[in-house]
């Protein structure tokens, strides 16, 4: 049977789990029949055929088009704006600036305390908003934008965080470019730790700034109906957008409806409203028309977030037996022109991944004249991993130990960096490393590489690394409403967005598992503040562990009511009833059975409503995902070209809810990690202009399908987490991209003997490093 058959073999006639007594939480599933199977996405056809309506597809007959006029300079004062020419152009219906009535608004930058004006006269980064225009066609809007005459006083800029603290650097806010006091952390005594070490290594590392560039652009359609505003936004969270827009416009939350059923990717850059959302709302109000405002691809490179660059130094001490004695880490980072978490979580892995009694971290965040950072798939972690995993690799070599064994020697059983050393509900770190190594054939590959002298200029190398993710356990609040209709079909109402990760599919599977319903009889309504329940944004790899227990609770509630109705009609004890194949039957009296649509009580009521809430996480324990990755590369020792041959990812993210979407996340995370490691970087013109050089998909080099290794093996590790939540699921989307770049770097070192400490590892760097080493020889 094909996997895409609507009547899936594994969904035929399985017994649903026991129903807990009222007030009791459901017990962990012992055996599952739907959960964990490779079920294709419930909306796969819609997404692939183009019939899914994404926010950028939303259209109304009277809709007009908005555009943002952005500053072309990274640091400039707007001295005068003349919009008269633009206003007279054909099709133009509104031009708004900071001096337009109602547009003189305060903008709060997320992830910090920075505030500015919506249209701030001081443009502190290229692309910051100066004016908004609405016109009948996108072309007219663009022409009008070009006709707005802005007189700028162009100011000196600093776009390199490494120069931001120079006395000569222009100051972006306040008295110098420090965002605040350094972020520090300390436990034990690092000096004592280094004194105890047999080997101490100190290395500087740098990761470049990355841009999210999701497939769907950032933007929305905004429409007013009296004093009610509806926004169709490409977002990871409709409720945060509602809150941001209501806050800026001074409106009651109830009057702002945000809808985002489908969305084309965000990776952390769509966790809140953008200035564009507010500008679209203002333009819609000014014109009395629905306004569609999606930024251009180029604009999204400038103003919708990034993974900030990190300049790191890591000093590490180890004993000959592999015991880590001390880690000392510093980082200089930048979130751009406003407070935006430029160093957020960059040191977390140093603090918490490996057992180490003496740790000190100091991270400094500075302002530069560039677009603000936003969370980017595991904020901070891939950067910290780049330093930590390469250092561990170097330590292992220095003490002549297998890097796998060095890591296994230092597996913590509790979270060292959190107050009170709380244990994890489960830590699959050890198992990830062991099973991943076995699946990769690590020992054999290492032995073979050490025993054979490689001939020719193409050299093979292998590398590995491990990770954990700071959160990933989900958390309250979440409310789910599940409606079972009289024909046995169900409607699942959930506020959360599906970023394209398969959230909707996983939730439908939870309902199917619990109620024995067919997947195609479950319809999901989601991501609409007017019609679906409250949910926080889909970010932090929290969506499945947050929503799935609430969905399960709602399904259990429906089941209780359903079985009660059936027990009354079958005149039997509710305890004896179970559901199979859409039929309710008694385990004691085989004659007593009834199909769900035949229940009179259900017909009468029309619907059973079950409400589920996300309960609290276990107290005093942490729910974190773990992982280990292994890769093989081939490196051209003359040109520095790197080919990633294969990857193995052993990830512990609790229960595998859907093997197909699970593996897709693994492939996607590794692909993104390849981008960090090999090709991606933001390039700012540091000399003359401070403008971004590579704000397009040609010059900003994302890995394409042809850059992804043919062989990516996903090895799920499920230690059976019975404490995390009632489904046992943890987040996967972020942990799976954390160690990838460092793992490639370790493999490149293994192949070449050259440690590339700065991303990206392209021939631009590696060819020169290889040549310099040859020259020195």
């Amino acid at each position: 049977m094909k996997v895409d058959d609507p009547e899936l073999y594994y969904m035929e006639g399985f017994p649903v789990p026991e129903t807990p007594a009222p007030g009791e939480d459901p017990k962990p599933w012992i055996e599952t029949f739907v959960i964990g199977k490779p079920l294709p996405r419930v909306d796969a056809y819609q997404r692939v055929s183009g019939s899914a309506i994404y926010p950028s597809d939303v259209s109304f007959p009277d809709m007009i088009y908005g555009v943002v006029v952005g500053s072309p300079h990274p640091n400039a004062m707007v001295e005068r704006i003349d919009t008269s020419k633009a206003e007279k152009m054909p099709g133009v219906r509104a031009v708004i600036t900071g001096s337009t009535a109602g547009a003189d608004l305060t903008w709060k930058w997320p992830y910090g305390n920075s505030k500015s004006k919506l249209f701030d006269p001081h443009c502190r980064f290229e692309g910051d908003a100066v004016a908004g225009i609405a016109a009948d066609t996108p072309y007219q809007a663009a022409d009008a934008a070009a006709a707005v005459e802005v007189q700028y006083k162009v100011l000196p800029f600093v776009v390199d965080e490494r120069k931001a603290l120079d006395p000569a650097a222009p100051v972006i806010h306040g008295k110098d470019n420090h965002v605040g006091k350094p972020d520090t952390y300390e436990r034990g005594d690092v000096n004592k730790g280094f004194a105890e070490a047999d080997v101490v290594l100190e290395t500087e590392y740098r990761t470049e700034c990355l841009i999210h560039t999701p497939m769907e652009l950032h933007g929305c359609v905004a429409r007013w109906d009296g004093d009610r505003l509806t926004i169709w936004e490409s977002t990871q969270g409709v409720y945060p957008v509602q809150q941001d827009v209501a806050g800026v416009l001074g409106m009651p939350l109830a009057k702002v409806r945000v809808i985002g059923h489908y969305m084309g990717g965000g990776f952390g850059s769509k966790l809140q409203a953008g200035k564009y959302t507010v500008i679209a709302s203002l333009l819609a109000k000014a014109t009395g028309r629905p306004v569609k405002l999606f930024l251009s691809r180029e604009e999204t490179f400038l103003s919708t977030g990034n993974r900030p660059p990190s300049n790191m130094k890591l000093k590490a001490g180890v004993k000959k037996d592999g015991t880590l004695t001390a880690l000392e880490f510093t980082c200089l980072g930048t979130g751009g022109a406003y407070q935006s978490g430029g160093i957020s979580l960059v040191d977390w892995l140093i603090r918490d991944l490996y057992t180490c009694p003496n740790v000190r971290c100091e991270c400094n965040d500075v302002f530069i004249n560039a677009g603000c950072a936003r969370p980017f798939r595991a904020p901070g972690h891939p950067q910290g991993s780049w330093a930590l995993e390469q250092t561990l690799d170097a330590l292992a070599e220095a003490i002549k130990m297998d890097p796998v064994d060095l890591r296994l020697k230092n597996i913590p059983l509790y979270s060292q960096a959190r107050a009170g050393d709380p244990p994890y509900t489960t830590t699959g770190l050890k198992e990830c490393i062991e099973k991943g190594a076995a699946a990769f054939g690590w020992k054999e590959a290492r032995k073979k590489l050490s025993q054979t002298k490689q001939e020719g200029h193409i050299r093979t190398g292998i590398g590995m690394g491990a990770c954990l993710w700071f959160v990933g356990g989900g958390r309250p609040p979440s409310t789910i409403v599940l409606k079972l209709f009289s024909d046995g079909s169900a409607n699942l109402n959930m506020g959360a967005s599906d970023l394209g990760t398969g959230t909707k599919t996983v939730m439908a599977m939870v309902v199917a598992e619990e109620l024995g319903l067919k997947i195609h009889n479950i319809q999901i309504e989601n991501a609409d503040t007017g019609a679906t329940q409250y949910a926080t944004a889909s970010g932090g790899s929290k969506t499945v562990p947050t929503e799935s227990p609430a969905v399960r609770a709602a399904a259990v509630e429906v089941k209780r009511q359903l079985l009660k109705i059936a027990a009354d009609e079958l005149k039997t004890d509710v305890q004896a009833l179970t559901i199979r194949n859409g039929e309710i039957l008694s385990s004691r009296e085989p004659a007593k059975r009834i199909k769900i649509p035949d229940l009179k009580g259900l017909k009468q009521r029309g619907v059973i409503v079950g409400i589920g809430y996300r309960g609290p996480n276990p107290s005093n324990k942490w729910v974190n995902p773990f992982g280990a990755q292994f890769c093989e590369v081939k490196v051209d020792m003359r040109t520095g070209e790197i080919e990633v041959v294969r990857f193995v990812a052993a990830q512990e993210s609790g229960r595998v809810m859907n093997r197909l979407t699970y593996d897709s996340q693994v492939i996607g995370g590794i692909t993104m990690g390849i981008g960090l490691g090999l090709t991606e970087m933001r390039v700012l013109d540091g000399n003359e202009t401070g403008k971004m050089c590579n704000r397009n998909w040609h010059d900003y080099k994302l890995p394409t399908a042809l850059d992804v290794p043919r062989e990516i093996v996903s090895v799920p590790i499920d230690p059976g987490d019975t404490e995390a939540n009632s489904t046992g699921a943890k987040g996967l989307g972020e942990p799976v991209t954390i160690p990838t770049a460092a793992v490639i770097a370790n493999a490149v070192y293994n192949a070449t003997g050259i440690r590339v400490t700065e991303t990206p590892m392209s021939p631009v760097k590696l060819c020169l490093m290889l040549a310099e080493r040859d020259r020195r020889k």
Binding site: L678, G686, E688, C693, K701, P763, A771
Partner: protein, 326 residues
């Protein structure tokens, strides 16, 4: 956002030439480069003359002397798939195959490929650079990791983006150009223009002129050829460094060699120093080492592209070594 333009689809070459009435009229063939340039507003265009219906400009034919004539509208994919090309001019087929992505090769034409606009991010971006009539080349003091190490004349350091062009120069091809004054033949080596000559032009084409075909002379007996390209992104990218070779052997000795680089200079860059070293010699290790060193002897790297020195040496050594093996 695309600018406004008028669109004329012609049915004959004469109509096309007549249609090219102003400097702001542009020829549209595959459109893979032109449409991007228009969207990015790199140069004005008030009229596009589409020559896509001129089927006479499509296809690969044999010439009387045993060479090939390639119509300007022949797509890169058609070049790659041509058995005649693969057999007699494998280096050119390889170069076409190394260009762009499969989708772009299906659409992009060889005529358009040799007339491409540079990919310098200052030229393509919101920078009023020298090549766009401004007063400054931003790349010399700026972000120049993908820029030229030869032929910049301290004016403009673009690299010519074409992969087939260096192979065409190596095979001593000729470009047929039709314009208001009639037809002229331009040797491929003279087709591209250095900044010293004209910093705002990449080719010798004058107002109203169209490339109609490229003629490849029959290669000398014993000719081996190749094209090798190194990219920052392996799957799809312009060249960091590329080397096109067309080398005629007599016995085990090189009789005649054409060595042309891509990703090196504002035009396909012929390195006569290498040609002279290998001509008359056996391609042994010492000759190859000398040739590799000579490749970059006169290079003038910028602040961020010094890696091109070892890279070109490496590729030259690799390719000559491979060629020596046959």
């Amino acid at each position: 956002m695309m600018p406004n333009f008028s669109y004329l689809r012609v049915n004959s070459l004469e109509q096309a030439v007549e249609g090219l009435t102003s400097p702001e009229t542009r020829v549209l063939a595959g459109g893979t480069d032109l449409l991007g340039c228009l969207r990015d507003r790199i140069f004005p265009a008030d009229k596009l003359v589409s020559i896509t219906r001129l089927d006479k400009l499509r296809g690969i034919e044999e010439t009387a002397d045993g060479g090939l004539r390639i119509g300007a509208l022949t797509t890169l994919t058609e070049l790659i798939d041509s058995p005649k090309l693969k057999e007699r001019f494998p280096g050119l087929a390889q170069a076409a195959g190394e260009a762009a992505s499969p989708q772009l090769r299906n659409q992009g034409t060889i005529g358009g490929n040799i007339c491409q606009k540079p990919r310098c991010w200052y030229y393509r971006g919101e920078f009023h650079c020298l090549r766009k009539g401004g007063t400054l080349c931003y790349a010399f003091g700026g972000e120049n990791q993908f820029h030229a190490i030869f032929g910049t004349d301290n004016k403009c350091c673009i690299v010519h983006p074409s992969d087939p062009s260096p192979a065409l120069v190596a095979f001593e091809a000729t470009v047929r150009v039709v314009g208001p004054k009639g037809t002229r033949l331009v040797p491929m080596e003279k087709f591209h223009v250095l900044p010293a000559e004209n910093v705002e032009k990449e080719t010798v084409l004058e107002q109203g002129e169209i490339v109609t075909e490229i003629v490849l002379p029959k290669p000398a007996a014993g000719t081996r050829s190749s094209y090798r390209k190194v990219r920052a992104r392996r799957s799809w990218d312009f060249a960091l460094a590329g080397v096109a070779l067309a080398v005629a052997f007599k016995g085990d000795k090189v009789e005649r060699a054409r060595v042309v680089l891509s990703g090196a200079a504002p035009v396909p860059w012929r390195v006569k120093e290498v040609e002279e070293i290998v001509t008359g010699k056996k391609l042994d290790a010492s000759t190859i080492a000398k040739a590799a060193a000579a490749t970059v002897k006169n290079a003038q790297p910028l602040e961020h592209n010094a890696y091109k020195i070892p890279l070109f040496k490496a590729v030259m050594e690799e390719q000559l070594t491979a060629m020596a093996k046959g």
